[in-house]
Symmetry: C2
């Protein structure tokens, strides 16, 4: 119940502030932190991308501001309604819900989803509550299995007893309660096919862990679920991606956050996450050069960008990986480990890497 109050309180405080300004005969205003690149910085203390302190003030009686002002207030009203009736909307549904025509005019409150999305992001910034807590959902994607029991919507779900499919991760994991966490760590991988490999081989049972995947870039629901297991239950998060710049980028976003979501890093980033592979050393050790996928120009550019990231540029271990990848001029997929044996990744690669604690930080 406490969580509900936090949201209602924040929304009511926002409404009360505006009402007060109206009653005082002042020009109602909203103060919103600026989300542009110039206001995003990497904080070496917290090891996260964060929003700086620049803020903008938006006034109701200002033709340049009024549209955004009203949209943000509408998002707040919709969030309060959703909270009160206990429902959630996807961003797309919220767009249609907010796209109403103002009475006595032919003006829509929002015309494009970009507008409602930004209003919701502004509301996140103003209230310091994530979109999910405000009852707006992002995409649903991903699966999980392992030694954890949760309670969700009145159901008790044991992630270790769900057959070959596993639990389908919802877009919003704020209200999940962890009932029993026997797992000692989490293996996160970018590909569902890899997850099915590890699940069929019952890696979560043998290694006493949780296995989780999204597809490509992790969804917010997946990131938040990883973060909650990490923060609330102290589980280490180990990230398993291909040996390629895009895999490294997936790891980077999970760990340090991203520019686009810098305002919400605290609720998504996992500075304690570690990279478990695939590395250049694995490519040598397991003789995977035969399975090189040659770099395209775009891969090289991406690698060079990543190598310059503030959080990587003084990291010797990572710089060594970037250098070796550049020398190889090629990527290697985790799936290439199948060439060593059907279950090689589950029975050799992972146990060995974990035993030797071969993580990159």
């Amino acid at each position: 119940m406490k969580r509900k109050d936090e949201v209602i309180e924040a929304l009511e405080a926002l409404g009360a502030k505006i009402l007060q300004e109206i009653e005082r005969g002042e020009n109602p205003s909203l103060e919103v932190p600026i989300r542009s690149l110039s206001n995003v910085r990497y904080n070496p203390e917290t090891r996260m991308l964060e929003l700086g302190s620049e803020r903008a003030k938006r006034y109701f009686f200002n033709v340049a501001h009024v549209r955004k002002f009203v949209q943000t207030v509408e998002a707040a009203a919709l969030s309060k309604e959703l909270k009160e009736v206990g429902k959630h909307l996807s961003l797309r549904e919220a767009f249609y819900r907010m796209k109403r025509t103002l009475p006595g005019s032919d003006i829509n409150l929002v015309d494009e989803q970009e507008e409602s999305n930004q209003a919701i992001e502004d509301l996140e910034l103003i209230t310091n509550l994530s979109r999910e807590k405000l009852h707006f959902n992002a995409n649903k994607m991903g699966s999980v299995a392992g030694k954890v029991v949760i309670e969700d919507k009145g159901d008790v779900v044991d992630w270790s007893k769900l057959g070959s499919g596993g639990w389908s991760i919802p877009s919003n994991v704020e209200e999940i309660v962890f009932k029993e966490v026997k797992a000692r760590f989490v293996l996160y991988m970018e590909k569902a096919a890899e997850w099915e490999r590890l699940h069929e081989d019952r890696v979560w049972e043998r290694l006493n862990c949780v296995i989780m995947c999204s597809q490509g870039q992790a969804t917010r629901g997946v990131r938040r679920l990883l973060q909650r297991l990490h923060l609330e239950h102290g589980l280490p998060i180990y990230v398993l991606t291909d040996f390629d710049p895009w895999g490294f980028y997936i790891y980077s976003v999970l760990k340090f956050g991203s520019i686009g979501l810098a305002h919400i890093s605290e609720q998504l980033a996992i500075p304690g996450a570690k990279f478990l592979g695939l590395t250049a050393d694995d490519v040598e050790r397991y003789d995977l050069k035969k399975h090189f996928i040659k770099f395209e120009e775009v891969d090289l550019r991406r690698l060079e960008q990543i190598a310059k990231y503030e959080w990587f540029k003084d990291n010797k271990e990572w710089q060594r990986q970037f250098k070796l990848m550049k020398q190889m001029g090629a990527k290697v997929e985790l799936a290439a480990l199948s060439s060593k044996g059907i279950t090689f990744i589950s029975e050799h690669y992972l146990p060995e890497k974990l035993r030797k604690q071969e993580f990159l930080d």
Copy 2:
């Protein structure tokens, strides 16, 4: 156990035939149905896209044939190994597993995944068994909830007791056993966000059904799961997509099959599936013109293609929809129903359409 025998039998028969030819001093050969467009036809009796009777013979002692011949035999050997050890591989993993260098040469058995994929498809055609039964998995995607209890890998999973996430649908659903099917029909939708709407509103409980989604085009696992519920338990399958040519295409593939997978229609297509919406009539009735998304050139072209499909061209109801859409020159999303109310789709739209039995066939 019967299912296991079916696969091993087919693979052993294939091996025995080749061995026999070798012992007799004949040129070993494989007979494979041709998968080109010219050999695909629509069968109005079964209402499915099917492969015609054209076949090609491939010989071992033929420089133009030998590579494909050996690849197909390798796929068969790998399938048998997988079956015997009770494991599955994704197509990508299978590619790496088959990409071995022939002893005493620098020739790889396969160089590109396209080659191993085709070898596996050939094996499907030769054995008349789906890739999934041969232990090769496609993509994993999609969620399900509702009044069904299954047994899978020794776990009993109740699809109605999985919190907000639902069951994550595996890539391979061949070995799932339906223990209890109380649901009276299945609602299939293309978007996960729509699924979350219906799940939060507990539509499957109110209407006593199953709700299932993939994302975009349905995966093979999802299609096969729908088909099994339809054929083995007589559940009607109702398809819910946006009012747009791509939504209609998703329905068309689910129901009649697709050209690329015509050889496996029997194991994927669901001729009994029905379209539940969104229709042009819904757009009128629920006053959704305000939410028109104007056609691009590419939408119009797709619509015109679909309108000419053999299975739609004499269907008056569908032709009427195509004509109305063309007149509107616009698409409308299911999510636009949110403009009528947060739970409008769950509490009004669906119950009304189902009560009136407003299906398109």
